[in-house]
Point group: D2
Chain length 464, copies 4
């Protein structure tokens, strides 16, 4: 085959989709990719991880998101070929379509269960694994891509790692307004039942243009772009950074750490009934791509339930129960700069109550940069958003929009300390006995939602 | 405590919900029930089972549906107390509210993973288990309900088994227009991205009235009721009975049967690596409520993946791969009456290809009765829908509406025979060799989507 | 120019539309037609006439509907050319596109204000006027169409009167599932805030196919077609036939009749201040197309307000006040067959109260035929809906669907008698004096919402 | 009657509403107000004036908006009485409900047709007229309000002019987040088909609290408030300030000015056929409330059509044709500070072409202040938005939100010069003859969308 042959249209197949109405599949290669076991595996991994514990509707999978990214990319290609085809003197070469569609569809294929947490503990990296799945000769994905041409897997992988020569293609998949982000904002909004992520996709697609060196937007679409950026900001603030979801993440983090620790230090850490065969390669930091592809949300949760029912370690069992029965750690905000001392005091109090602070206290900061212009010196220099005036003049978004200027280069988010739920005021008023003074001190430090120093002399004693 | 005390309002808590905007919780008992481990377990069980393999958006859980049923019930109580309170001379006694809300919330709590299939193989019954969860002293649910009053669990359970004395309460939870059905039509529509299940909930709630002996509807709301019935019919025809979802169910059915057979006949059926501790009590038909509550979608799928990677039996492995990688059995319709002979011929052909027909062929019929009036002689006599004219006169729905009359008492659905996907025309054109004549006969019998007799003399041979 | 040249694409222009998101204009001819004064005039005529007095959101114009019909037709052409082009061996000739689009856009251009009522009084006919606007050399519409080719106006007109040779084109514009009906169901639903008219447009468009002799639907889309038919039925029953809107129509009817009568019989019927120059040609039954194109909702309502403030005739003033201030006639149902005598009794009672029954009583029946198969003998034989099975076999819809069979050939609707609002029970309890016995008899006959015979001996007197 | 009696609930009546689903009417006074002729008149006045010429869906009336404001106010009262009632120790006194609901419903009742333009020409003021309609003894509105208590009209009027003693009540009706703005953003979004005005009403209502001295918002609802402010900003930028709608406004302005001028200077300015009896009192600046209440969109447009057909003045006819047939003036932006000279040059060029520049040129600036904190010194000092932290601490919105800080106190909008459409480049390429050099100069100054100085020596002559 060749790219040209593989690009030929087959009779259209569709998937009903609540966000885009239909996902339209028009090439056999795309259908075959969707049917690979690596793609199907994404059905078993939730798109939003622990966020479904806060927003109960947000139970959609990475599979459904991947189809959505594909569909947005397809729509963009359709629009580009209609209005900017090189055949009509424009700058869009539609022979790029197939690589765009494949990259869009496969962009997240390296994700594992609860990626954020999993990666931080086991040093996996979903972006690298995406590349491996595309490039390894053992995967069905690679097999399908290779059937297009021997070099096609490399091309698709290079789009994802941003080394593909055509910047239009790269920016459709990864930039500050790309098919990935556009789908996840709309989809996460739809399923969570919040509307913060809604923006005007049709208008964005109308004002998006290919240029020789990338993607730009009509100046008169500036307000639609502003709307997209503020929607994204709202989703981060109100949904993705929600403290309850993070409370579940902290639990998960400590639970996996405890399991690894038991596995590595005790022999046998877990007896016959409780072993977790698909996790062990990761505990040992010696895993293959095949090992990775066996993991999903259900596998982890099944092992947690095995541990609840068969394991002996009380901390492992307790953390597993908290996770499975949804008892998230609860949090207050603090300031890295101002509360160093208070943190120590508070953590110390928790320890005094008998909690192992390695597993029952967690610090977590979560920040996002809603928009930035191109800074070559930044850690991750970004492609800025460029607007094109009627005259052909280009303006960077934050120059044109004082609304966006207010965001530019600024981190938004917070730092929180997470503790077991039962330590908070109001949770245990009835059965405070022995530890009452300590609990009262904890309550005093956390009551307002912000970490607050203890008043001098306050020891939680009765007189208060 | 007492029911009156337990009914007192706490400061309202809410859950964001994409279907109802917010779920409003106004009693501590409701909050406590939601936080039980038995309720939380419903997060790990998909509402629509294998339907998410057809409609990729339909990944929502029974947890989210249960909250939705609760919320509709709550809205109805609010409306009834406002307009029909016994305090104002009406027939609604708002001291029933708490039992209604609890029954609504707990109505589906006995569901397990892929209930439809699981129940048919292991003889479990989710309705009975719902009762057990409510009544067993060992559950958190029972503990919370008991805190209201010692008899309260019995009351809630009796609503669900329809023996509760007040028929208004029973019909809110189980009748042809109840809170359960209203939520699942709206919710399954929303998540699947089809709109067939949409009906005018606000208007239905407006025209719904309590009467002494149950729930009725204003005559001038007849068209809204028609709309609800036709929506329900559409959902059954277009979504719930979709042949691809049933193809996955048939796979699952055969996979579980194979595992049970191996477990019961071979020793050890599955070695150390492949055992499925939470399933074994069911293989042995000797399980407790605790055993049941350990099951969820992820547990089953994890065992299937263990079998893929560790089991020796080729049929078990093959069926597990087909399920995990989504390779549903494919089907054609047939007629029980007309195609008995053809069925035998076709099944025989499949056997000749070397497939074990016990595991690679399945017959499945799926029928629904969209509406029926009260027939005391029927197997499950139903409560009919009654409309009330301005004059106070009552009319049964199918008498008033000739549209509904068209449905009344009629089963809708079809009978299908399911076979491995690769046997169908178009799937294997390139590598047909040895079995070509047999395959051609299979193709000839299944090509039109309906089971079709072989033309006389047709043997699939080359001359055709 | 030629049709081929006129069909060439210009840079796309769009109109934001709440139903279809965007209306896409891709030919200069379409843009020019939209900008004609005959099209712009449709902005001043409400799509749903008096229905906005019942559903206050339904204030959209025939202009917005016309754009919507155009957009659906455009989408269908896009789909047909992609999948069934004669260039690829199919049966769709895309050189028909321009005539389809123009006919879709202009289909309703002959509508005047409150057409239903206006036509019945002044013997105008919006379908004939549509033809005239297209064919008359004096209109801007004709001028634009003529610029395509001298015969093009005739072609467009022949689509509308169903004599165009290609039945595909005719059926896209006028059949039981055409672009016109599809838009008005969706649009009237959206603006009225009822959801009854919602059906699955995307799916209908997917299963719609051109055949040599017209348009058909895939058999597996049957449920989507059923859904469309039941939606249409619901809109007629719940929205279009709403008795309050008809109460306003009856008022309007009598008001215009009174004005005409005064104009024809009195000299001067109306003095200087109250004349209604744009209406007079219609009073005299001697009007031109130019006269017709001067009318719109605002013109009629302005004259009504002039009459309120300047006219002398008390009936004219009173009816105008009732219309302008929204005091609809109120109604009860009756049966043509059973209530002939009762009607006379009731009308007689109204007359006794001093109302001129020519202007204060109205009978109105409104019926719809939700679906019919082709009956050459019927008054208006209809094109039936045909489904095509995979095998190529064709089935008429009501044969395939027992749901639709329930509707087929059956009229739905009712007959009502309309009277002044103040005559109904509950409206005038406080100041009944002289006419009390008569009013009581009227109340007794209308109280239940259905016309009811007076009980023997009942004379409305005090003893009751 | 008394306020307490008038507040009593009647059996609920509803109006179907596309934005709020249903409008719920629960007091007879509200029903009676809706039925007054002054309220019904709002059906004949479009909410968005000339914006429907840009967004064809935006044809909704001030009547539908008024019901929406009422409904939001009603929901707020319901929530306040449930959670903050003085009966439970809170600060909300539900005896204020009736005055809130009446003020919400009547808030815009003083609007006339195309208010923005009409007021600037005839020195009317819709806010003052709202007061008059409420207070004048001759209106039906006053009659209904007076039936509650003799002082009730004064109370309602004082809410609208912000002198009512309870600041909670005043702020519900007029503040930076009030029922009026919340409804118009949602409604104008819905009908225009843009989504910019969507914000999370349910969440705003959840975080809104009454305090002794007004209305505040929970700190944790800050992002919902940000979302509301940015939605409002987007609606101003993308919808309300759209240059095409303003092009229609400018036309309307000049048309009315021309009619007044003719009326005042010529005798008879308009002959018998063309007089406009309801407008004449305004031409003469000598009008009564009754005169005002006769005006609506249709009346103005009918007079414009009379002028087209009967008037002699060519400018009056031409401007009327442009308005009726939707030929808006077109515009470019300019800068007050930088383009004074260029403006003169351009206007001079237009004059040279023979246009009367008093009627064919218009300057228009349109600015909005998306948010401001309380500045006693400002022209219209505003009530700032206050957030309340858990601790009870109050923070002004722009202090808490750096996103809002970016807007605070800043005007957004532009200044434009409007000219006849035909003067713009691309509109008249084919028939430029005599005035070609002048037109070329105009084109050169307007081509980029911004007013641009002529290059030195450029005279539009051929060599260019």
């Amino acid at each position: 085959m060749s790219i040209a042959e593989a690009s030929k249209r087959i009779p259209e197949k569709v998937f009903r989709d609540p966000v885009h109405d239909y996902i339209h599949v028009q090439q056999q290669v795309i259908m075959d990719l969707i049917n690979t076991k690596e793609m199907q595996r994404l059905r078993r991994i939730k798109q939003m991880g622990t966020a479904s514990y806060t927003f109960h509707g947000a139970e959609h999978s990475r599979f459904s998101h991947s189809l959505g990214v594909y569909e947005i990319a397809r729509k963009i290609c359709d629009k580009f070929v209609r209005n900017y085809s090189i055949e009509d003197g424009g700058v869009w070469d539609d022979s790029e379509r197939l690589v765009v569609l494949c990259a869009a569809l496969l962009h997240d294929i390296g994700h594992g269960p609860f990626s954020h947490t999993f990666e931080s503990i086991f040093n996996t990296n979903h972006e690298e694994i995406t590349q491996q799945i595309i490039l390894s000769e053992d995967t069905e994905v690679n097999h399908v891509l290779r059937s297009v041409s021997p070099d096609f897997p490399n091309q698709v992988a290079s789009v994802i790692n941003k080394t593909y020569p055509n910047p239009q293609v790269v920016q459709l998949i990864s930039s500050q307004i790309d098919a990935d982000r556009m789908d996840y904002l709309l989809r996460d909004s739809y399923f969570s039942g919040t509307n913060y992520g809604n923006f005007d996709l049709s208008r964005i697609l109308r004002v998006m243009h290919p240029y020789k060196d990338g993607i730009r937007f009509d100046y008169n679409g500036m307000h639609a772009v502003e709307d997209y950026i503020t929607s994204r900001y709202q989703m981060y603030m109100q949904v993705y950074f929600h403290p309850v979801s993070r409370g579940m993440e902290m639990l998960l983090n400590h639970l996996l750490k405890r399991a690894q620790e038991l596995f590595l230090t005790e022999d046998p850490y877990l007896d016959h009934e409780t072993h977790a065969p698909f996790l062990e390669p990761f505990f040992m930091q010696n895993w293959t791509l095949d090992d990775y592809l066996r993991l999903d949300d259900g596998v982890l949760q099944t092992y947690f339930q095995h541990w609840i029912h068969f394991a002996n370690d009380p901390i492992l069992k307790d953390l597993a129960v908290r996770f499975i029965d949804r008892k998230p750690f609860k949090s207050v905000t603090y300031s890295e700069e101002e509360n160093q001392e208070d943190l120590k005091v508070l953590i110390d109090l928790v320890g005094k109550l008998g909690y192992d602070i390695r597993y029952y206290v967690a610090l977590n900061s979560r920040f996002d940069l809603p928009y930035d212009f191109y800074r070559p010196s930044a850690e991750k220099p970004r492609t800025q958003i460029e607007l094109v005036e009627k005259s052909g003049n280009m303006v960077e978004l934050s120059v044109a929009s004082s609304l966006i200027a207010a965001f530019t280069g600024q981190q938004r988010g917070d730092e929180r300390i997470f503790l077991p739920n039962e330590l908070f005021y109001g949770k245990n008023r009835n059965n405070i006995t022995l530890f009452e003074p300590i609990l009262k001190q904890i309550h005093a430090m956390t009551k307002s939602g912000k970490l607050t120093p203890l008043a001098e002399g306050f020891d939680g004693d009765d007189q208060i």
